[in-house]
């Protein structure tokens, strides 16, 4: 197939493709950096000068050729120490989809980093070293992906070249993981064998595993059905910014700007304002490109209403008969990210959708050991990288949904009032119901 430059331009300008957000999880030696390097190189995202640079670095370190793992090496400090310290974002695309990949380091501060990368991901790729099989860390990564509500998991059994491309080994690992993962909240889990180093089943099929008839990793990423993942039912519009230009021609204009977090809205529809409970109708959906008749998540729009209601940032527009929970106290799973442990006597600043309120963590119900997934009800606090189930009390009610049905209105962050550091990430769960995670045993 020929690629003339004009074809290239026509394809770029003509393309109508989707965005897919991925997160990769893996530990030190499971080949994650090699996999990402392989994806980038084989989908032609890497420039010659970048490859040359990597080759030179490798030569200085005594290696030869292009070490794929070095392509994604980021900061100088990291290269010196041979580790990665932070989430890095990578980009690649195919004619079907454009991918944003959150590359989360596996060792240092893994929980904090992985939770961050997973928070926006639609697909998680979990790497397993075929020699080692399912390890505690594999389960930990799967658990965090499930907790963060990632709808699709891909368990990539890597380094098949080191187990003689053995189908039996692959089936053994798949069987073990399948049994364990039945308890997860994730309903779409795929398994595939591959060798990131040699490229088999990443972008190219390679010729070492004729026994595997499923899709390659890229096939899978390009074709995963994601249109059902979005919540298109519950209209939630947190008001982000109130537009009152007060220019001569827009003297009385009052528009409510924000991003539709879920659901859809049309002109003429009745909406309810929270917290007041007053109702009105959508008069216009204003955008730079002209008014819309209707809009859908995740569009950023400006809505005007037929009636004058006092509305400010942090308020929410929803639909009658489909309102979120209105809570001053709620239960949540929190991942602690602060250097100082969680302190129930301390006041935090809570950000939830566009609202900002003071908050206290009233009670720690239990700590979840992310390695064994056992609950420790005797725990008194959460330290950096620890997770637990808490009860949060806020100064003003928040308009929230369960995280399992709405990732946008079920999520919040906690900010330390003194240092302004982001110290916690939380997911709201139903109150007083049995805990959503099953009891885990290992």
């Amino acid at each position: 197939m020929a690629h003339s430059p004009t074809d290239a331009a026509a394809r770029v300008f003509g393309r109508k493709i989707e965005l897919l957000r991925l997160a990769t999880a893996g530990s030190v030696d499971d080949g994650k950096s090699t996999l990402i390097g392989r994806l980038l190189v084989d989908t032609k995202q890497v420039f010659e000068d970048q490859l040359q640079h990597v080759e030179e670095v490798n030569k200085r370190k005594g290696g030869t050729g292009v070490d794929l793992a070095l392509i994604t090496d980021g900061l100088k400090a990291e290269r010196e120490q041979g580790i990665t310290i932070d989430v890095a974002y990578r980009y690649f695309s195919t004619p079907r989809r454009s991918f944003i990949l959150a590359d989360t380091p596996g060792h240092i501060q893994y929980t904090r980093n992985m939770v961050t990368g997973a928070s926006t991901a639609e697909v998680a790729i979990i790497l397993v070293d075929a020699r080692n099989g399912i390890l505690t860390q594999t389960k930990r990564h799967a658990f965090i992906s499930s907790l963060l509500g990632i709808p699709h998991l891909i368990v990539a059994v890597n380094k098949m070249d080191l187990v003689d491309w053995s189908e039996a080994r692959f089936e053994e690992i798949r069987g073990e993981m399948r049994e364990w993962a039945a308890k997860l909240e994730v309903h779409d889990i795929r398994y595939l064998p591959m060798s990131a180093l040699l490229g088999d089943m990443v972008v190219e099929r390679g010729d070492h595993m004729p026994w595997y008839r499923g899709p390659t990793l890229l096939d899978l990423l390009e074709n995963l059905e994601t249109s059902f993942d979005r919540n298109l039912i519950d209209f939630r519009f947190p008001v982000q910014y109130v537009s009152r230009p007060q220019t001569p021609e827009l003297h009385d204009f009052r528009g409510y700007m924000g991003q539709i977090e879920s659901g859809a809205v049309s002109v003429g529809e009745e909406v309810v304002h929270l917290p007041s409970g007053l109702t009105s109708r959508v008069q216009r959906i204003v955008t730079y490109d002209g008014d819309l008749r209707s809009a859908v998540t995740p569009q950023s729009v400006c809505i005007t209403l037929e009636d004058d209601i006092d509305i400010s940032r942090g308020d929410m527009l929803v639909r009658p008969h489909n309102v979120p929970r209105i809570e001053k106290e709620f239960e949540a799973t929190v991942c602690w990210m602060g250097e100082t442990p969680m302190d129930s006597s301390r006041r935090y600043h809570l950000r939830h959708t566009t609202s900002a309120v003071r908050a206290v963590v009233k009670e720690l119900r239990y700590r979840i050991d992310v390695d064994t997934l056992h609950r420790d009800e005797s725990a008194e606090s959460l330290a950096l990288n620890e997770m637990g189930r808490v009860i949060v009390r806020v100064q003003k009610p928040v308009f929230c949904d369960d995280y399992s049905v709405n990732r946008r209105t079920g999520a919040f962050i906690l900010i330390d009032d003194e240092t302004n550091q982001t110290v916690g990430a939380g997911m709201i769960w139903k109150k007083s119901s049995p805990a959503p995670e099953p009891e885990w045993d290992f």
Binding site: H3, A8, A9, I17, S93, T94, P95, N223, S227, I233
Partner: protein
């Protein structure tokens, strides 16, 4: 080995491997939308946004967050193509109102004349508030032009970075919006969308605030500031596609024309500023264009006959060298990382 960059170019994609009728492992034709039971589909409502619509929505959300959460924000306007996209997104974010903050151009005095002309015209046409700041002290102590490397270093460190920091503190800006993209450079890949800067304007890559969902931590103490990058998740291909889709005007230097240049260390430098010419360098006329725009001292052109957006994009996407390579100033390991620690954008 030929490296074709960007979307739509991989020769080994699923549809090609599996043939044109291949609809993926699920056997679903992804063109058809299957509505959820019980969901009323409003007339002609787009049920799936394209990647550009999604990126646009995310960027607009970021702009509004800045306007809502900061006392005195500003948007950096470098006059390049990414800045042009940034400007359009800012207009979209606040439509029908005006952009509720000023634009700032940190001028090194060494930009191309075409860039100054573009700046003046666009500012007048669009009617936003434009602040131009120059580091006058830094400009007074320019090194001798006989040493171009020193001029570049001075330009980048003193005129750009210090000039920026001075301008930010002079006006008391607490948030500065810039057009940097994560895909551009290795240290940028780890940058937050809302990136904290201490009272010295410095970036600490090892101590960044975690950033989750679309919940941004905008809280700072007096004297500290946040750099905001609404284009974080855009790639170069996205930028070009958006420029074309939205019909966004860019500086003519991006298009090929016959220009007077000198060739130095393999880079074509503009010969418009005669002071920059070194002994023995004779300007020649070359049909060329600029892939990135910066100062005349350090921004090189490439030989090209691309005079339309289609041709430029064809070049950009089949390029084998990354765009920053034409900038003398970006060569050298970890240079961007070091500059950012000093306060560079």
């Amino acid at each position: 080995m030929r490296h074709v960059r960007g979307a739509g170019l991989a020769t080994n994609c699923a549809s090609l491997v599996n043939g044109p009728g291949y609809h993926g492992p699920l056997g679903l034709d992804r063109g058809a939308f299957v509505p959820r039971p019980g969901l009323r589909e409003p007339d002609r409502m787009p049920n799936t946004l394209t990647h550009l619509q999604q990126l646009e929505a995310e960027s607009i959300h970021i702009f509004r967050e800045v306007a809502a959460c900061f006392r005195n924000p500003v948007m950096l306007w470098s006059i390049g193509k990414d800045s042009s996209v940034l400007l359009r997104l800012a207009e979209k974010a606040f439509h029908p109102g005006p952009i509720p903050f000023p634009l700032l151009h940190v001028d090194t005095g060494m930009k191309f004349p075409e860039m100054y002309a573009f700046r003046a015209r666009i500012a007048e046409e669009r009617g936003f508030r434009l602040i131009v700041e120059k580091n006058e002290e830094g400009m007074a102590c320019l090194p001798d032009f006989s040493n171009p490397a020193r001029v570049c270093a001075h330009c980048s460190k003193v005129l750009k970075t210090e000039g920026l920091l001075k301008a930010l503190s002079k006006h008391g800006f607490d948030a500065a919006i810039g057009g940097a993209r994560r895909e551009e450079e290795r240290s940028r890949a780890k940058e937050r969308v809302f990136s904290f800067r201490d009272e010295f304007g410095a970036w600490d890559p090892k101590n960044q605030r975690p950033e989750l969902w679309n919940l941004y931590n905008t809280r700072i103490h007096e004297g500290e500031s946040i750099r905001v990058f609404p284009l974080s998740n855009w790639t170069e291909a996205d930028i070009w596609q958006y420029i074309r889709q939205e019909d966004i005007e860019i500086v003519p230097l991006y298009f090929a024309a016959e220009r007077e240049v000198v060739e130095r260390s393999g880079v074509l430098l503009s010969a418009q500023e005669k002071r920059l010419l070194q002994p023995g360098e004779v300007p020649q006329k070359v049909v060329c264009r600029f892939r990135t725009l910066g100062c005349m001292t350090c921004t090189g052109a490439v030989r090209s006959t691309a005079t339309t957006l289609e041709e430029i994009v064809a070049e950009a996407l089949t390029a084998t060298r990354s765009e920053r390579e034409t900038r003398l100033v970006d060569q050298g390991a970890a240079s961007m990382e070091d500059k950012k620690k000093d306060g560079y954008f």
